[in-house]
Symmetry: C2
Subunit: 116 residues, 2 copies
DNA sequence: CGACTATTTAACGAATAATTTAATTAACCG
DNA sequence: CGGTTAATTAAATTATTCGTTAAATAGTCG
């Protein structure tokens, strides 16, 4: 049973974010091409790639001994939705507040048609 | 000198995300109101709140001994922008690729006006 | 097959993060 | 002031994460 890392923990690490940014600008990269761009050991990067894979933030294609990595834009969208969702809920909340204030205003005018 | 936690590490923790979600639906909450909703000690939550504060994800207002917490929607936008930016770069990359293919197509037709 | 290439997994130490209990700060109220 | 309430910081502990070196897997090529 493969343990899946959540998307939020995955992007918490700056190296992993950097890999994602790199992949956003490059069609695809093999593991070694990624290794070469970082001062840490290939093994360390391999672990980062595993975490990104588990979070579905990247996808892999096998080609001979090589692993070709590609970003997964739909997973990026998921992250975007979380933050957007919070903002929207916050805004809706403000709308509701506004409505309540409007209703209060109506009541002071003796014009109360509002239902529970 | 106050150390500032980055937004990505801040939202990596599920308890902190939960607090943010709570605050997105509620105008504001005092520290104790937040404490009461979690099984961990108030001190643990207090530390989480500190991290959210440092990441500017929440804002605090003092009222007597109480600290009133509110979400900061503009900080949420920052996160949104990061993921959106990556998606856009990925899409732009696809556009560029398309353009290159178009140019190649032109060349095969002997119509090469493109500069390096 | 045996050597080589690409990449991952394993084992382990060091650094960092989360949680707990204890102590501290700060504002209120009689 | 002295006691109480609200919240934070400090110290200690445990858990998790990150990086390293060493070993393993898997595919290629002569």
């Amino acid at each position: 049973m493969h343990e899946s890392t959540d998307i939020f923990s995955a992007i918490a690490d700056p190296t992993r974010r950097s890999i994602l940014e790199m992949l956003a600008d490059t069609d695809s990269l093999t593991a070694t091409e990624i290794y070469d761009r970082y001062p840490v050991s290939p093994q360390a990067i391999s672990r980062h790639l595993k975490i990104l894979r588990e979070a579905k933030l990247v996808m892999v294609e096998k080609k001979a001994q090589q692993r070709i990595y590609r970003i997964n834009p739909s997973a990026m969208a998921e992250l975007e939705n979380w933050s957007m969702g919070l903002r929207k809920r916050w805004n809706r909340r403000l709308d509701v507040l506004e409505q309540v204030l409007d209703e209060e205003w109506d009541k002071t005018k003796g014009n109360s048609e509002s239902e529970e």
